[in-house]
């Protein structure tokens, strides 16, 4: 069986859900082979990758972590030459898309991003125009390179897991000379909440929260979800910019999206309209968000949200 190459920048245990999803898709279409951007993996990572079907791990001969994109794409191109996979899969984060893009040029192969499902012959279903269209696309030249959105598949452990073999692959010498690099990294204050793009529940606030995100956060925490915000709320400085959902922020596709105090203009809709279930709370009955809500409450978010939060806690205890 031909192999399917999965690139995971720096996998850690437990494996993230997107990592497990990529392995699941790879194993369904061939022998899953993983390439990583670090010269050695921590204890337990090889076992964890094996558990989701990885048969081999390709490691670079040098640390690539401090570099951006180009040297990683160069390393991956070498792996593709050695392994001759039938496809290369990456996650849909911006750096992975950029690695995929550069890899595509290096190996003369078509690249498809924003993939939501992978079919026979690596036909890709992708979301277009911020999720308002679903398109079926195919790579017609070279080895398909696909970047896959989170929540595309249910992770499936391998029936017959093996401990993957670790293979060292020489990094091209040219790759790092002119590369962009990270010279300093400051960690933001750690959050106990799941990341916005991977969360299965997102609770988002907008202009209507008027500077006070506490009721949004309380409901998010009761549901084990992430906190999102409209551009108005992040521009006003009520919450960090990275919480922005919309065309100029994150595009999310959770099981449940609760929108509170957000009118739901096209700019915001573009970031959340592919959510499975949408709940909206807004004072204004004419808010466009109600047109796409599965359940809407015309009311004050400062009474509705705390009541819901309390009720959830009560039913769960």
């Amino acid at each position: 069986m031909a192999s399917v190459l999965v690139y995971l920048d720096h996998p850690v245990v437990p494996l993230s859900k997107p990592d497990r999803e990529l392995l699941t898709i790879a194993a369904a279409h061939g022998d899953a082979v993983v390439a990583v951007g670090v010269p050695s993996v921590e204890n337990g990572v090889a076992e964890a990758l094996g558990e989701f079907g990885a048969l081999a791990i390709c490691l670079p001969t040098r640390e690539l972590d401090q570099f951006l994109v180009a040297p990683k794409a160069a390393f991956l191109a070498t792996v593709v030459q050695e392994v001759s996979p039938s496809a290369v899969l990456l996650d849909n984060g911006f750096e992975s898309k950029e690695i995929a893009a550069r890899l595509g040029i290096k190996i003369f192969s078509g690249v498809i991003s924003d993939v939501v499902s992978v079919g026979e012959g690596f036909t890709a279903t992708k979301s277009d125009l911020a999720g308002s269209y679903l398109a079926t696309a195919k790579v017609t030249h070279g080895t398909p390179v696909l970047t896959i959105k989170p929540n595309s598949v249910e992770p499936q452990p391998a029936a017959d897991p093996e401990l993957p073999e670790q293979v060292r692959i020489q990094c091209p010498e040219t790759g790092t000379v002119k590369a962009a690099r990270i010279t300093r990294r400051d960690n933001n204050k750690p959050s106990t909440r799941p990341s916005l793009t991977e969360a299965s529940v997102v609770v988002a606030g907008g202009r209507g929260v008027n500077g006070d995100f506490s009721v949004i956060e309380a409901l998010a925490d009761a549901l084990g979800g992430a906190v999102g915000a409209s551009r108005e709320a992040t521009d006003a400085g009520w919450i960090e910019h990275s919480a922005q959902v919309g065309q100029t922020g994150q595009v999310v596709s959770p099981q449940l999206y609760i929108s509170a105090g957000i009118s739901g203009a096209i700019q915001q809709k573009a970031g959340m309209q592919t959510s499975k279930v949408i709940v909206a709370v807004n004072k204004d009955a004419d808010s466009p968000v109600f047109e796409i809500a599965d359940f809407g409450v015309v009311g004050d978010l400062f009474t509705v949200l705390p009541q819901a939060t309390e009720e959830i806690k009560k039913r769960r205890s």
């Binding site: 590369a179 990275s242 939060t309």
Partner: protein, 278 residues
């Protein structure tokens, strides 16, 4: 494409005409390309243009020989994005207009843009290629990375600040990128490709004088033949991907809307429970 430290700063900004996001957008029935009949300069490109203008101003402005060139590719109406960029302050414009470009995917688009940038660079070189954080239409975000790859440039993307410093004589771009879990300081030797977010600046608006002045600025329309690019390498013919079908996602049906009469929070939780979301 290298330039010496004391040489004037030469920046190319990639701009794009996109469907106005205030209106619903659609794909054409024929070949699933974006309908651009109601197009404007991508709002996100205005930040790129502003960043370029500020960098050139910081380096001594136009009198120092620094230059911002706005470039685009596409059919006739694409030129509007370049015209708007000239009004805002770009010094020169290029429009790559060639029927053979229709249907280009990221590989073809990046091939044509890379050729155009090389053409503009000529003997003087280009120090920076700046783009917006995404195009507000196709959103593949593959094109800037592929342009960088084809020109063998390092890329520094999604930055919220950017300045040029010197490592000895060698110009270095230093930028800041704010992520969800961490903030990075990034560095790349010039020439480089940079994409900027909407947090980097407040784009200026063209005033009456700059609109009039823009009419006198050089705007060049070039074809693939001018760039020495074979027509079969781009467009549908040169694409490495194909879109077989595209359907508008079924419109979301409006669900239940209730007025809060004191128990809406409870009803909301009932709904979540009925959807097995608790």
């Amino acid at each position: 494409m290298h330039t010496a430290a004391e040489a004037p700063l030469n920046i190319v900004v990639l701009v794009k005409h996109v469907p106005d996001t205030q209106f619903d957008r659609s794909l054409t029935d024929e070949n699933f390309t974006v309908d651009r009949s109601e197009s404007i300069l991508s709002e996100l490109d205005e930040y790129a243009l502003e960043a370029a203008l500020q960098l050139v101003e910081a380096a001594g402005g136009k009198s120092s020989g620094g230059k911002v060139t706005a470039v685009t590719m596409g059919p006739d109406q694409a030129v509007n994005a370049v015209k708007k960029a000239l009004q805002i302050g770009a010094h020169e414009g290029f429009h790559l207009n060639d029927a053979a470009l229709a249907g280009s995917d990221a590989a073809g688009t990046s091939l044509a843009l890379a050729a155009l940038i090389r053409y503009i660079a000529g003997d003087d070189g280009v120090d920076l290629v700046i783009t917006g954080m995404a195009s507000t239409d196709g959103e593949t975000s593959l094109v800037p990375a592929q342009v960088a790859e084809r020109l063998d440039l390092p890329q520094v993307t999604f930055v919220s600040s950017a300045e040029i410093t010197y490592d000895g004589d060698a110009p270095v771009l230093r930028a800041r990128r704010e992520g969800a879990t961490h903030t990075d300081v990034l560095e790349a030797p010039l020439p480089a490709l940079v994409s900027v977010t909407d947090q980097i600046n407040e784009p200026r608006y063209p005033d009456f004088r700059s609109i009039i002045a823009a009419k006198k600025k050089p705007l060049h329309v070039v074809t693939l033949a001018d760039l020495g690019v074979d027509a079969s390498a781009v467009g549908f013919a040169g694409a490495w991907t194909t879109v077989d079908s595209a359907q508008p996602r079924a419109p979301r049906e409006q669900g239940v809307i209730i007025m809060d009469e004191g128990d809406a929070g409870i009803q909301l939780v009932d709904f979540l429970e009925s959807q097995k979301l608790l």
